[in-house]
């Protein structure tokens, strides 16, 4: 079912940055291609987004990694400090653990 059929706003059409409200739309994409959209303020700490995403996918926030432009996101980062633009993407990676011989 598409977004339009579900009644959800699509990224290109309905979810627009609200002028004057200083909010942007951010897409969080997992390594398996699942997408979650966020509409947050430029000043909102991304740790909140991370926590909400982890809660949504049912994982511990410490077991997943969030990267913007290939760089890990810090707890104190905000869209403004990272110069994020509307409809930017945050990549999500699963924690990797290992040893060696």
């Amino acid at each position: 079912m598409s977004q339009e059929e579900q009644g959800l706003p699509t990224q290109d059409n309905d979810v627009k940055p609200e002028e004057g409200n200083n909010t942007i739309n951010i897409k969080v994409v997992s390594s398996t291609g699942e997408e979650v959209f966020f509409k947050i303020k430029q000043s909102t700490k991304l740790i909140k987004l991370q926590s909400a995403y982890a809660s949504k996918v049912g994982k511990d926030v410490n077991s997943i990694r969030f990267l913007y432009d290939g760089v890990r996101i810090n707890d104190d980062d905000t869209p403004a400090t990272l110069d994020m633009e509307d409809n930017d993407t945050i990549d999500v990676m699963v924690e990797q653990v290992g040893g060696t011989s």
């Binding site: 979650v36 509409k39 990267l67 290939g70 060696t100 011989s101």
Partner: protein, 560 residues
Amino acid sequence: MDDYIIDEEDLQHGNPAWNPSEWIACGRDYKDLPTYVAVEVERTRRMPLEIESLLPSLLQSPAGFHMQSNVSAWNPVYDAAKEEISDLTDITFDSMEPAFITADLMEVSLLRSSTVQHLHKDFGQAFLDGKRSIWDARDTNNIHFFRLWYLSYAEYARQAALSWHTWDKAMAWMMEHHHNEEPEECIWRDRTFALLASMAGWSGRVGCGFIDLTFEQLAAILGDNWLSDTVVDALVQDISTHLKTCDGASSDILFADTFFATSISGGAATDSDHMGYSLVAKYTHLLTSSSPPHSLSFPLHSPPVHWAGCRIDIPKARIQFGDSLRKRHPKALADQLVVWLEKNIGLKNIQVTDDLPALTAVSLLPMRLHTPSSEMISGSLATRARTDTGGKLDTDMPFIDLDVPTDARVHPAVIDVKMRDVCQPAAFEETDLTALLKSFEDEDTDTAARTPSAPKKRMREHAGDEGVPTEKRKKSTHPTASTRSEPHTKPVVKDNLKGPPTAKRDTSLMAPPKCSPLSRRPNIPYDVQQEIKDSVRKGGQSDSAKHDHVVGILIKWSLY
């Protein structure tokens, strides 16, 4: 595709507007909490100074924290155990007046995480209901009525106790090697102890550019522990920084993080693939710049729990995988790498091999984490330590030394590879490969003609008769062939390597007038010889690749 939209308001926990009927906290963050309420919350939760002084300062060094803290009684296993019903009934809020500050607070059993969270959630409402103490009846002979600040205390003490056990494990691992008096070990040990005594902090985020790295994860480096991508990436970052700082030539080496391989495997080879391409794009940009690096090296996660390495030699259009477990390279990743290199970097006729020596500076990254990685602790972290300790730290910090031979410790959960007979380090040139293999064939014949040999332990006792060195091999100060630019140093031929003057050995020794691999070749165990022979028999490798592979095997067995 799962589409889901979360608004700004959804990011707030519960009711973002303060509700007086719910009083304070209740597990929610109110964006408009009145000042007088915030002050009351702070006052209620603040520990008295005399209690706070019992707990270790967050600015204490790991060594000081480990030695001076009195939080060792906590068993971290308890924290992971399933919460019992009694935890919820024996520890709760009560209307009784709290007792005076008890002096033996440290002897009270700590609370597990779930219990602390449970109490925090109910704290505000309990306060509103006139509850003035926390009733702890876990010990029926000694029931406590704590003041409400006990919540803050319990949370802090629990974290300190968990962290203490982590550092205790690391310190114990360090002390295991205290008997090792080899100069390199001593130098490393002294420096590491000094750093652990000078860093500021023992828990929480390390900072200094290591975004996710915590002090507890840092402690995991000191020991045979599973290592997360955060630690591996931090080490790669630290090594890369030091190479750029200390070795100008090494700017030819570009390091990628652990997510690079994951992204490539996931199909992020081209911009059109989009998904995860942003993780790859920066490396594409660097490798296509006007002065591109000669190689791209990155750690490689091999599920479920293993780290390997990979190096892409750009001028030679060669992808080299290296794995200490000698696994073949993951084909899907190799295929995607080829696509990425062809489409983005413009390479042609790309060769994929598994001959990256597993202990080189690149693929050794995970392995080195099992060794005392002083370079990890001594780099940027040392800078922090200097800053935080008023510059008392020695400015001649140990920078990375990739040439130092490492002790290849084995994680018991992965595979139990024992180091075999130790012997003098070997070194041979590419042209020596044939002669070395020839010597194995000769030795096969020799071995077949002899009676079965005694057990290795007993052989070592009579090493003088068998040609095996009697002393434990000293760590070489020579650089390994697999590391950077320094030239090979020919090992000194020791008399005890020549062995008894048997006819067969005499033949092999007298052959070349110059220093041949046979004359300086150590006594290589039979099974290692077989592994080398099996490796070169596979074919399809150039002499150079075979040479590298043999070097890798020798390094793996600590024979190089």
